[in-house]
Amino acid sequence: MMLALVLSVSLMACQDSGLRGDAAAAASCFRQIINTSADSAEIAGAYAGLGNYAAASDWYRKALNTDADDLAARLGWARLFASVHQRGDAETLFREVLERDPDNFAAQLGLARLYARSFDTAAGTLVETLLDRRPESPGPLLLKAEMQIELGQHEAASGLLQRLLAQADLALADRLDALALRASIAELNGAADNPWLDTIMEINPDNGQVYATAAYFYIITRRYREAVALLEQAVSRDPELWQAHSDLGLNLLRVNRLADARRHLETAYRGDPYNPVTVNTLRLLDTLEGFEAVAGERLIVRAEADEARALVPFVQSMAARAAAEMAPRYDYQFTRPMIVELYQHHDDFAVRTAGLPGIGILGATFGDVVVMDGPGAKSIYEGFDWSSALWHEMAHVVTLNATDNLVARWFSEGISVFEEWRFGPAMRTSLPLNFLEAWQDGRLLPVADLDEGFIRPTYEGQVMVSYVQSGLICQLISEQYPGGLSRMLKVYRDGGDSQAAIRRGLAVEPAQLDESLRHYLQQHWGAVGAGLEAFAELQDAAQAALQEEDWAQSLEQARLAVQLYPGYVEPGSPYVTAVRAAAELGDSEQQLRLSRAYFAAGGRHPAVLSELAGKTTGEEQLAVLNAQALALPLQIGLREQLARALLDADQPAAAAEQYRAVLSLEPHDRAAAHYQLATALNATGNRADARQQVLLALEIAPRYPEALSLLVELQQ
């Protein structure tokens, strides 16, 4: 959307020349104002029109130094800050205007725009307030239409825009914005004709902004390939659309076109060095150059060099399972390699995802490209199970590609959550307590509105609640409507919305599905829901007793809590308390029983698993060690333990993989790691590689007796 930088009639006239494609006339007009105007704010606006933001800022400051109550100058300065990505300063200035004039319409509109860009629900409330005051005002109408398009409410948005375009005295900038939004709706709906686009082109054949506007809606609905195509058109028509270059760069990264991305980001930086997304993403590209890429036919893994080889065996195994088991569940087949990028630093992941640090999510999928925090960024100690998260993201690759990115957010998330629960590495269905509370309080959204729980949450924790609700709906569909998930994906792929997907895929009305969910929850979680308060009290009591080292009391309370909610293995699970208390009491039988139940429910607390691995044998022990190594894949000791167990279980090839991972993690005792790898390779019959590894061991430690023996054996 165009950000109006100008206020006066003269400035608007200059701007209109630019909007009609006559950049020279616009520049000349702005310069004329600079040379002749006595109004500092107007001069500032003219500098802003010329793209000289530093001078514009100086003149706004000068205007306010002269008259602190010059609201037009303060508003202009606020808009200038908004246009150069300084949201905080813009908000401060808008608020300063409102302190002086609480009903200032333009300041409220400015704030609403800022809120809308950060998906703050306050935007909607503010827009409605503004429209109550001035129902036909273009600014709030445009903003409301934009928000409606974001939510897929195309018909409602079209109605608003029609009303706006019917206004005879509509300013050119507003007209172009309205036409661009209307053209975007046509584009999103795949309309063969786009008369709104034609009108814009009649006004200015070099208008690139309309393409950038439409691209924005593709981006927020994760249709990155379509967004890239439009942004390429945008910058080809108007090479000075720096924001479009930046957006193009970011989205080229999402479709794995790294070199093209850098080119456009560098162009964006030359034109607009203030854009933090551009700067951060360029820095990230430098970081990515230090990544190691491990490429296969079906999978490319990119990670920091010291992690890549340690994680690859796990990622490869999951990718193979996704292709063989997950994709067929949804009638999908991988046709291109999946790309998995794992970040050691959360801020790098955040920049990769959104161009800015500080986002709350831990993983994201762009078509074939999965980017996420790796186990080096966040660990199981912090409640982050990276392998379950990876399985979740792999499911997005399936659902996004199976629908050409047309799947609704809630449904894609729902399938991913369901996949985690039913088929993921941990296979746990541990509903978080805030979901159960939201359900008990009647705060779950109808399925038809479930996307709003992700895009514009209205209470704290609603995004997480929406994830779980979506997962439960998909689980219900998989159980009660065989083939229903795949049929719904097909409806999305053919352009249907969620209501159509439910009606055609399941042959029920959305409201009936909501009703089914209510029954399903009651049937499976009713007892847990009813005992939620008691569960929380027991959990607290068990924890308090543990602190006081009253082990018997702690065990008793924790066991009662486990009985109330046996599937709860989230951080703070009463299983962990009970296991610890049983261990302190020396009750190893109870400790083992509880540990087994916890592990079977998908619990992955390292201390519990470590004890369990020590108390089990054979296949059971191998399963625990595998889960431990997967949960903490960068812990050398765990990988070594797993490798040894695999060798004992006569799985030397798998053991060799683990030993290779150990070596990549730079162990203290490299000679031993090379030797162990050699023994595993020798056991697979690969004597040549075994010789190489044993020589590497002996190169470090020539007297290493076991390695010398193996070398002699290999020589014979």
Partner: protein
């Protein structure tokens, strides 16, 4: 002892290399400071006993001062007695387990009764003629480094400065190094001071990294050349035939060391083939040494 048996008896021969008759003797003094809380009392006792057990198995003469016996005066008296017993060829290993603190001037060992300072200890150790190894596993122990630095003394501390004043985990990892064959990087059945320290320091770093905690201790090793290294504690063989075998083995190892310096100039095949030849020769020599049940 046969080489195959070293995993069970690892540590002690490595550190103290038992030596009868005219060999230099080694005295070990382990001081356990005040715990303050029950949790720390058990931690410090476990660590102190761990060190005592490790060194006792190698015929080390151990003195453990714990509880009320670990007062400043007791430490001074014990060191005075030790000073009279040891000569310049002998060795003293002093280990402190407990809390430590730094007031900006002195490092303090937190003992029952008046604290002992690093300066106190440095003064008493002046009278001990033996080579010395000091292991201070407490918080803030880095503050003792400068005061205790000496040309005949190796120093190991849990922290790099007096500002690192949280309870440390270093002692646990050092004990692990003493028992874990993986600490012996070059697999020569001898644990050098550096090998033990590197293993423990890596363990400390991983401890904090895995828990996503800011590391509040950075272990330090000050081991001046010419002072005793644990690897130097090995007794020379008495049998001339064995001495000859060991010389041959040393010569092959020297050849390997030279070959390694030429690695970058050789093709991988040529390098590894030559390396293999040397190693097979070494294997043969080692077999003969093992058959003679010698642990060189």
């Amino acid at each position: 002892m046969s080489r195959a048996g070293w995993r069970s008896t690892l540590l002690l021969p490595l550190l103290l290399a038992g030596c009868a008759g005219a060999c230099a003797s080694t005295r070990v003094l382990i001081v356990t400071g005040l715990a303050g809380e029950a949790g720390y009392e058990s931690k410090f006792a476990t660590e102190s006993d761990g060190f005592a057990e490790a060194f006792a198995a190698a015929d080390g003469q151990i003195t453990q001062l714990t509880g009320s016996a670990a007062q400043r005066e007791s430490v001074q008296n014990t060191l005075t007695a030790i000073a009279d017993e040891l000569s310049a060829e002998d060795r003293l290993i002093f280990i402190y387990v407990g809390h430590g603190s730094y007031d900006g001037r002195d490092f303090r060992f937190n003992l029952p009764g008046p604290d002992m300072t690093a300066a106190d200890l440095a003064g008493w150790l002046e009278t001990v003629p033996a080579l010395q190894l000091l292991i201070i596993t407490s918080s803030a122990s880095g503050a003792a480094l400068e005061t205790l630095k000496h040309e005949r003394r190796a120093l190991m501390t849990a922290t790099r400065s007096g500002d690192q004043n949280n309870v440390t985990v270093f002692a646990g990892y050092l004990l692990e190094a003493l028992h874990n064959p993986g600490a012996d990087i070059d697999k020569d059945d001898r644990l050098s001071l550096t090998e033990a320290f590197d293993f423990a320091a890596a363990g400390v770093a991983e401890h904090y990294a895995q828990r996503r905690l800011m590391a509040t201790e950075h272990p330090q090793l000050d081991s001046p050349p010419g002072t005793f290294m644990l690897t130097d504690l090995e007794p020379p063989p008495q049998d001339p035939a064995l001495t000859a075998l060991i010389r041959q083995r040393d010569a092959v190892e020297a050849d390997i060391a030279v070959l390694k310096t030429r690695k970058a100039d050789m093709t991988p095949d040529a390098y590894f083939n030559q390396l293999q030849q040397h190693l097979l020769e070494l294997a043969l020599l080692q077999k003969r040494l093992d058959e003679a049940e010698v642990l060189p």
